[in-house]
C-alpha cells in the first residue's frame, strides 16, 4: 500500500488520506485498496487509455486536498468528483483514446492488431500455467456453463468450499484479474517481438 514517492505526494498527505479512510491501519488499507480499484474500474469503463495512471493522479489530488485541510464529509463522493475532473483532463490529451470512436466498426477493430488464435492459446496456456493448481481448477469451473446452470453450479461450489457466494466471487475476480493482466502482458510481448522481427 506504500505510495510511490516519485509522484510528489508527501508522506503527510498520504497519512491524511489513510486516516480519513479508516480508524486503524488495517481498515484504512482495505478502504484504500477498494477506492483505488473503484477508480481504476471507473476510468477503464469511461474509456480512459491509462486507467491506473488516472487513478493514481486522483488519489494524489485527493490526498493533497485532505492534507490542506479541506473539509470533506464524504470521501468517496469527493473522490468521484476529482475523478471526473481528471477524466476530462485526460480526454484533452492527444493520446487519450486508443481508437477514435467514430472510426469503430466491429471488423476493423478486431482485425487490426487482434492476436491470432494461436498466440491467444499460447498466452492462455502460459498464464493458466502460472496459476496455482487450485486456482486454475476453480476458474475453469466457475466460468463454465451458462444461465441458470452456471448460477446453480456457483452456489454449489461456494457450498462445497464452505464460503459465501460473495467471497467466492471476490476470490475468482482476483484470479481472473491476474489472468487478464498476464494475457495482456503476454500478448503485448508477442506483438513487440513481431514488430522487432518486422513481421
Amino acid at each position: 500500500m506504500s505510495r510511490d514517492p516519485g509522484r510528489g505526494l508527501t508522506a503527510g498527505a498520504f497519512t491524511s488520506l489513510l486516516s480519513r479512510l479508516g480508524p486503524d491501519a488495517e481498515r484504512a488499507g482495505f478502504a484504500y485498496e477498494h477506492l483505488r480499484r473503484a477508480l481504476v474500474s471507473f476510468f477503464a469503463w469511461r474509456g480512459a487509455a491509462t486507467p491506473e495512471e488516472c487513478a493514481d493522479e486522483t488519489l494524489d489530488r485527493l490526498a493533497v486536498r485532505l492534507a490542506e485541510g479541506v473539509v470533506v464529509e464524504d470521501v468517496a463522493r469527493f473522490a468521484h468528483g476529482i475523478a471526473r475532473m481528471v477524466l476530462r483532463e485526460h480526454w484533452r490529451r492527444p493520446d487519450a483514446r486508443g481508437v477514435p470512436v467514430a472510426a469503430l466498426t466491429s471488423t476493423t477493430l478486431i482485425s487490426e492488431d487482434d492476436p491470432d488464435e494461436g498466440a491467444l492459446a499460447d498466452c492462455l496456456d502460459r498464464c493458466l500455467g502460472e496459476l496455482a493448481a487450485e486456482s486454475r481448477a476453480l476458474i475453469l469451473e466457475y466460468y463454465a456453463g451458462e444461465g441458470r446452470a452456471r448460477i446453480e453450479a456457483r452456489k454449489r461450489m461456494a457450498r462445497e468450499l464452505g464460503v459465501s457466494e460473495s467471497a467466492l466471487r471476490s476470490r475468482l475476480q482476483r484470479v481472473r484479474d491476474e489472468v487478464e493482466r498476464c494475457i495482456g502482458r503476454c500478448l503485448a510481448a508477442q506483438i513487440d517481438e513481431k514488430t522487432h522481427r518486422g513481421v
Binding site: 506504500s2 485498496e33 474509456g47 468517496a76 491467444l120 496455482a132 463454465a144 468450499l161 464452505g162 487478464e180
Partner: protein
Amino acid sequence: MLPEPDDAGLRLYLLGLMPEAEAEALEQAYFDKPETLERLRAVEDDLLDDHAADRLREDEKRAFEARYLASPPLRQRVMAARALRRALAEAGRPAAPRVAGRPGRSGTLPLALAASLLVAAVAYWRWPAPGPGTATLSPQPSIEMATPATASPSPPPSGRATTVAPTVPVKVVLALSPVLLRGDQPPLAGRIPAGTDTVVLELEGDPALLPARPAEFEAAVATVEGANVWRGPADRARGVSAATRAQRLASVEVPARVLPPGDYVVTLSATGRESIQRYFLRIAR
C-alpha cells in the same frame, strides 16, 4: 439517492447506455461500497463471456464493441474472456476437477483456519543440487538438510557424502501448501533432524492473494492453541516450488529451536495489514 440497479441495469452502465444521472449515482455507490463494485465486476464478467460466446443481441454487441474494443485496457479483458472461452471449450466439460474436499463436510478446526489451511507439508532440497558438505540425514525421504555455505556449483564427489562440519549452519526446508482441510486424512508431518539450526518455510499459494501494490511481508508462527512462538520478516518469493510445482509466495527462516514437535499455525501477512494466507504446520517427533 437512487436505488441500485439490478443486473440488467448494471449491464446498461457497462455498455454506456445508462442515462448520465443514473450512471453518476451508480459510480458514487461503487466508490462507496465494495460489494457494489464486486457486483458490477461480476456482471461485466458475464457480459464479456456472453460476447466471447457470441450470445449478445445485435444492439448489445454494437454497444459492447464500441466501448470495449476502443479502449486498450478493456480490450485486454475481451481477449482474456476469449482465451478463457477457449480453455473451457478445450476442457470440454462443464466442471473442472474438484480441488477441495468432499461436499457437505465441514472441517473440525475453527472456521478462521478452515478457510485457508494446509493439508500437505513437503520438504525438499532448498539449494540447486546437493554438493560437497551436504548430507542426507533424515529418517524420512521427504526431509533433507543442506548447508548453504557449501552449496558449491562444483560437482559433488562421486557417490560420497562428506561429513557436515558441526560449525556450519544447517537448514531444513519445508514447503507449506494452503489447502482446504476437509478430508479425513491428517496433515503430513515434517521432521526436523537433530542439529538443524534453521527451518526455512516456503509458503505456497495463489499469487492473486498478494496485494497489488508493493508491500513488506511478515510471518508469524503460533501454536494451534494461540501461543505466539515467533514473528519475523518474510521474503517475497517468485516461481514454482520444485517439490510441489505450486506457486511460491514467500519464504521465511525460523530458528529450529522454537519449533519443538507439535502443531503450529503460520500466518503470512503484508506488514500492517490483514493476513494473506494461513498454513498448518505439524512437526513430528
